[in-house]
Every structure is written in structure tokens, then in C-alpha cells.
Amino acid sequence: MGLQGDFYQLLKEQGYVLGSSGQAGTGQELTTATTILAFKYCDGVLVAGDRRATAGNMVMYDRTDKVLEIDRYSVMAIAGVPATAYEMARILEHSFKYYRRTQLQELSFEGKLRALSKLLKENVAAALAGTGAVVPIFAGYDTGQEAAKIYFYDILGAEFEGVEYAVSGSGSSTIRGILHYLNTWGGQPLSAMPEEQATIQALRLLTSAAEFDSATGGVNREAGLYPIIKFITGSGVRMMPDLQLRALFESRVSRSA
């Protein structure tokens, strides 16, 4: 099957199974304790995520990177069960590389979206059993069409295009309304914002999410912890360094200044 350049198929032929099938429909509550967001700005797309990982009421970890670089032009932001999400990211990363190297051309953006959709579909049983639900955002730069794109998914693998923005995770309901308001009456649409302006908004949005959602970690200045913010443009994926985030946070976000 190598001729098709399908790495996931190859893995399955080797006996690989994604996630545990579990018992479907045990009725556990599906929690996605996190906040991730993506929106288009003037140069491309910005993807941001808080850094908290929780287990019930407990904060497990405060330095999680939920905005995962899959290849030079695409990023997957994850909400849901991290074990499954990281595994999916690893499969995607290898799938895209494998495709490029075997077929001697990049997988199209649509092809990348379908690859993630397929993984989510195969994971439905684990998602419903409460052990593997993942609700990601996939954002990137479509080099073929020279356009930034954002897609979000439900746990069953359906993909939806976020024309202007997309949000996911437990804190998303808080900021969805803000994004709508900002984009419609905020003076300028999100897609016209320059990078710095977009970063400030992303920091404010995540801070707001943390205000109302205990599972979303905001900015922890004492520990020097800032959200992960990545930009995807025609020249690839770039991460905003903490130092710059800090300066912007202190001058434009923090109210104690």
C-alpha cells in the first residue's frame, strides 16, 4: 500500500490500533478542559492555546503545549484527552512527511484535513467511552490557494470551516461571543489586524476565558507562564517568543500596570 503514500494504512497493516476501543456509550461526561482559539489576521492565521492540563479538579501541569506544529504550514490545536490528541498529532506529522517523501509532492490542504477527520472517526468509540475524546482545531496556510484556513471538528470527525475564527474547549463559550463582537463591531475585522494587535486580542481572549473557566490557565506572571501563540503565514509556522508576549501583556493586557 506504500504506493498510495498512506502512512496510517501502513501502520494499521503493522497491527497498530489508535486508542482503546473501550465500551461505547458508558455515558461519561465528555470534558474538554482547555481553551484554544484560531482566527485570521492580516498576514495569515493566529492559533493560541492556554497551557493548563487538568484531571478533574486537579491542575496536572501548567506548561502544556496544545498548539502542535504538524508541518511547516499547519498546526493542530488540541482540546480533549491529551494522550489521544498527541498520538493523533504524531500520526499526522508522520503521514504528511511520508506522503511528501513517497509521492514527491506535498499533500494538499484538503488531504490534510481529511487525514485528521479519518483519525477522529476511528476514535469515536474511545471518545464515547470517555477515554479519548479530542475536539481539535486545524489551521494552516494553503500554499496551493495562497490562503490561510481554519477548520474545527466535532468528536465524530465532521469538519467545519471557521471562516473568520474558531474556538474549542471548555473556555470556548466565554470567548466565542467576544470574538463575534470584536469581529463585527470592534472597529476593524479580525482579518485586518496586524500581528501585534492580533496577539494582544489573543492574550485578552485567553485571559477572559481563564476568568470564567477554572480549567483554563491564564497568564501566570510570577512563574513567567504565557499562552502559546503561533502564526502561520506564507512563509511557514512561527511561534511568538515569551519575552514579546510578556511585554505585550504588561503594556496592553494587564490592568494592574
Binding site: 504506493l3 501502520l11 506544529e69 508522520h94 512527511k97 517523501r101 513517497t102 511557514g236
Partner: protein, 269 residues
């Protein structure tokens, strides 16, 4: 008819002759290390000869394109499965070669009722540090050799030695120097192969042709100019300074143009 040991040895000997004959018009491949990584260079006509295998592995090959494709896929599958199941840093050229494809190549070579692989392979590996950069060359019978600063593929071992001898006298630091040395070395090999063909000489007899002690660079460029009329220069890099985990990149015609003597470059387009 091959049950007797003697017949089998004879059959394998015939096979060598057959393979040498198949490869005699193949295009040489040159690999050299330079300050930022590794350069692979060859000339191709239509089908590519240089490929990305994994984050830090690149392949150059000569021989039958279908056989090369098959082995390339073998390498790609092994590398990606290993990289996924273990980690990216566990994918090493030497494991892929020693436990992966050379047993397959050797078996095909010795099973005299089946078709052997008509290929020679050069695998380049970018180490974590510059001193770990290296090459592996694989012959059609499954034998392989490890090299460190440079490596070549050519039709016969005599031609390969000649090219290695030429490389030994060169010093390479920058990419520009690497490209220049690589194309000249390629010309050394191609010229030797062609003269062996024209003389209608046997395979290892090229060795007996008196070596010009100093090979004139101008003569090599002249040879290249003639080749370039029908072939294009193909270059690929494993560049330590490329951002992200995948270090492979093809050297685009525009970039290559700036690195070659001007009268070689126009025919690149």
C-alpha cells in the same frame, strides 16, 4: 542446473557481469560534506536520482529506476515506522542499511533464478554534530561501505576510486565550493566511464588506463558543458540550518546558478 556448487558460483559470476553491463552507462553520484551539512549531486535526464528518505537522511542512486523506486519505498517505510514507533533519533542510516535493505539486495542477488536489483545506492546521513555526518554506499550484491567526508557511486569500482582520488585532493568549506568540487568530481567519473565504453574495455580494465596525475579543471568544465546539453544538474542538501526537523532540501536552479561558473549555468533552465 545450478544444484552443483560450481555452477552456482559460475551463475553468480555471470550475474556480476550482467549487472556491470547494465550499470556501465549509469550516471555517477557524488556526495560531499561541507560546513552546513551534506551535498548530493548528480546529472539526470527526466527521472530524479536524489531523494529525501527521512529527517536527516537522503538517497542518491544509479541503475534501473523501477528497482531504485522499490528500495526507496522499503527505506521510507522502515524509516517512518521506526520513527513513529520509537523516535526520530532512532532512525539511523546504518540500521536501515545493515538490517533493512542490504539483506534484501543480497538475497535477490544470490537467488539466481530471480531478477537482481540493478542498483547502486548512496545514503547520506546528517549527524547531530558535523563530525557525525556520514555516507553509506551499497553495491548491487548487498555489500556496503561506510564513509565519512565524501562518497561516490559510479559504474565500476575503478571509476569510483578515481573519483575518490580526485576528491581527496580537494578542500571544501562553503556550499559554493562543495557544488564546484562535486560537479568536477562527477565529470572525472563520467569521463572515465565514457572512455572505458569507447575503448570497449572490460569492467576493471579502466584501472590500467594511465591516470593523469593532475586533472585539469578546464578540461572537466569542457566535459560538463557537453553533458549539460542533454542532462540537468541535480543537487540536494541535508542542511543543518534548515528550520524544523526535516533537513532535506533540493537546491533550486536559481540558487545553483549563482554557484556555478557562468558558462555552465544557462543550460540549467
Amino acid at each position: 542446473m545450478y544444484e552443483e556448487p560450481y555452477r552456482w558460483v559460475e551463475a553468480v559470476g555471470n550475474r556480476r557481469q550482467y549487472l556491470d553491463d547494465q550499470l556501465k552507462e549509469g550516471t555517477p553520484v557524488v556526495g560531499v560534506a561541507y560546513e552546513r551539512g551534506i551535498l548530493l549531486m548528480t546529472m539526470s535526464k527526466g527521472t530524479l536520482k536524489l531523494y529525501e528518505i527521512y529527517d536527516r537522511l537522503a538517497l542518491g542512486g544509479m541503475g534501473h529506476p523501477a528497482d531504485l523506486e522499490k528500495l526507496r519505498f522499503n527505506l521510507l517505510e522502515m524509516a517512518h515506522i521506526e520513527g513513529f514507533n520509537r523516535s526520530v533519533s532512532d532512525v539511523t542510516g546504518s540500521r536501515l542499511v545493515k538490517y533493512g535493505i542490504t539483506p534484501v539486495i543480497k538475497q535477490a542477488f544470490e537467488e539466481v533464478f530471480k531478477a537482481p536489483f540493478i542498483v547502486k545506492i548512496l545514503l547520506a546521513e546528517l549527524g547531530q554534530k558535523a563530525e557525525k555526518d556520514g555516507f553509506l554506499t551499497i553495491n548491487y550484491d548487498g555489500t556496503f561501505e561506510e564513509k565519512d567526508r565524501y562518497a561516490v557511486l559510479a559504474a565500476t569500482s575503478a571509476v569510483e576510486e578515481k573519483m575518490m582520488g580526485y576528491l581527496r585532493q580537494q578542500s571544501i568549506v562553503s556550499l559554493k565550493e562543495a557544488v564546484d568540487v562535486a560537479v568536477r568530481t562527477w565529470a572525472v567519473g563520467d569521463r572515465a566511464q565514457r572512455s572505458a565504453l569507447e575503448d570497449g574495455q572490460g569492467h576493471d580494465e579502466a584501472r590500467t588506463v594511465p591516470d593523469q596525475q593532475v586533472i585539469d579543471a578546464e578540461a572537466l568544465y569542457t566535459h560538463l558543458r557537453r553533458c549539460i546539453a542533454e542532462k540537468t544538474i541535480e543537487c540536494a542538501l541535508l542542511d543543518r540550518h534548515v528550520q524544523g526537523p526535516s533537513k532535506y532540501r533540493a537546491l533550486e536552479a536559481d540558487e545553483l546558478r549563482t554557484m556555478l561558473p557562468t558558462d555552465l549555468s544557462p543550460s540549467l533552465a
